[in-house]
Symmetry: C2
Subunit: 357 residues, 2 copies
């Protein structure tokens, strides 16, 4: 009997999730399976002290083919690819996203959502607890994401989490029935357990920036710049105003520097007047609403949860083409939303300044 030399690595491991979504949507079932698989793998990988260049080119792919087995739960054949697993593991750690919580949100319940009504074209999903947002991306958006991901990571490290930028937690490609779907997971800006009474997606543009009647008919419509002005909405940040403006400015400068645009400032407003008294202990809850929310408590009547979303779209050929088309339609000086990154940044900052009380 020959001896085999071995080292046994001991790490504290995630508990295997005991649930699999049996969804009418195989994409979501495989997404859940894949996140569980990849997270379990990630737990077994030794932590490395430094993120290297190659970690941004890294991936982990798994391909499953079951015959006459587990057919009720999952498609017979599927693939899951996780991009940059070590970088995302580090990001989750920096954002204080516990691996077990991540899996609980994704795997322990139904995923809601689907076709987006926005012009981006991607679908938007929410985990059962509304803690995480999952967006589908077009292939060129994924390329753009990779183009900027390293800078994004460096920026997050630099500002040590003090940023309004969207918190990216994982990026996957799911292949079911030969169809590839790219999915990115983010923290939701809206806090768990504190109702949102009004929701705005703001870009600083007036062109086409009004929620449709269909959108407005929803329980919580996603309103836009013109709606914000018409409602004479203001953000009352009190003593936090300057900090907020500085953070926002730094974030927007980062985005501008890296040729990024088309992002939005998402503002979720909780109206304390509409709150059942005693439901929220503001001194406690508000400062525990999740790492992503910029919570500001100057306004005695409202709580604001603010973040910059859709930040990793590079100003590309496609954008330039859209810009040319819109300029032709609305005239060169019209306040259209499709402009260059520097103009885009400036316009958003100006608009936000004007909306602060």
């Amino acid at each position: 009997m020959s001896e085999v030399k071995s080292k046994i690595k001991r790490v504290s491991a995630l508990k295997q999730r005991g649930k699999v979504l049996r969804d009418t949507n195989p994409l979501l079932a495989v997404f859940q399976w894949g996140c569980n698989h990849m997270m379990n793998e990630a737990e077994l990988v030794s932590d490395q002290p430094l993120i290297l260049d190659r970690d941004f080119k890294a991936f982990s792919k798994v391909q499953v083919h079951n015959q006459y087995y587990n057919e009720q739960e999952l498609p017979n054949k599927f693939k899951v690819k996780e991009y940059c697993p070590v970088v995302f593991k580090s990001l989750r750690h920096r954002f204080g996203e516990d691996p077990a919580d991540y899996l609980t949100s994704i795997c322990d319940g139904q995923i809601y959502g689907g076709k987006s009504t926005g012009k981006g074209g991607g679908d938007i999903y929410y985990t059962h607890d509304h803690r995480l947002v999952i967006k589908t991306l077009a292939k060129e958006e994924v390329a753009s994401f990779h183009h900027t991901f390293k800078q994004y990571y460096s920026y997050i490290v630099e500002c040590d989490g003090d940023t309004l930028l969207a918190r990216y937690l994982g990026m996957y490609r799911i292949t079911v029935h030969e169809k590839e779907t790219y999915m990115v997971v983010m923290n939701s800006i809206r806090p768990v357990g504190i109702p949102t009474h009004r929701l705005y997606d703001l870009k600083g543009s007036k062109v086409d920036r009004k929620a449709s009647d269909k959108e407005r008919a929803k329980d919580l419509p996603c309103l836009k710049d013109i709606d914000f002005e018409e409602a004479q909405e203001r953000l009352y940040l009190g003593g936090d105003t300057e900090t907020f403006k500085e953070t926002l400015k730094r974030d927007v400068q980062f985005l501008e520097k890296h040729n990024l645009m088309d992002y939005s400032l998402l503002v979720a407003i909780h109206d304390c007047n509409e709150q059942t008294p005693g439901e929220i202990d503001r001194d406690v809850d508000v400062y525990h609403v999740g790492p992503h929310a910029k919570d500001l408590k100057a306004d005695p009547k409202r709580l604001y949860f603010i973040g910059i979303i859709d930040v990793l779209t590079v100003y590309s050929t496609r954008k330039r083409a859209a810009h040319a088309a819109k300029t032709a339609k609305h005239g060169a000086r019209a306040e259209i939303s499709t402009v260059k990154p520097d103009q885009y940044a400036k316009r958003l900052l100006e608009f936000v300044s004007s909306m602060l009380a």
Copy 2:
């Protein structure tokens, strides 16, 4: 936001193993990874009340490709295929093999062993706790296994575990660096915690059935028929003799009926004289030595652990060719080990009868 209908299945799940063997042998590292993966998958699959024909054709394949990721632990590319996952899950259940114990044995420590000294050609490995035996099989042996596996399963169900036949717990194909290795996992016949002092592999043949000098030099050599006779060894089964003979006869008849041969009776002997007093409570320990051992306590001086191993080799063209060659060498009437299944069965039964005290 469209609602997605879903059913959430709740099962008690295995705890994810927190260790991966970092072995100089990538085959074993992938084998451990694969067993862990497949067992976790199996836990998520609903139990079915009945094993169906198609379950014997079922498989689960997983293919992994990591780039710049987890390179210290595992090869970049590998595949694991589990055969008949539902049937093996049922067998493990019938043999009282707890899924968590199965994984602890395989994943929580070094796997010992390697190149077999036997003529079968396959390699033999042992789990760190010596509870499980892992054998590699040639491709034609796997085909033969599948040919007989359904009958084997029916027989195990029929005799309700009252058999000396090897307990098959899982069958896998591991692909590392394009090389395919077939591996089957069985319960060890030797009990955990009770030392074996002598070990015999018996076929009832006298031709070439003597341990080599190299084998005899080992701490616990695997002795053969001629060694057994020369040592004037006897099995003292007392009141259990008839039960043992009946079980053995029924098992051997099953093997003969399905054209199986070349199996061995493995006999592990614990010598109580060599035992530190108090180390074994015979009334308790001996009846808890693992589901596989046929423990017999008539002999006050010895404990026997007996099983029939290598049972799923069909009498095939290859065997017939070997038979022709040996007949030419030793003469048609010589007691060679390569005979037909009915002769093989008869010869073994006769030999075992002669060795009972």
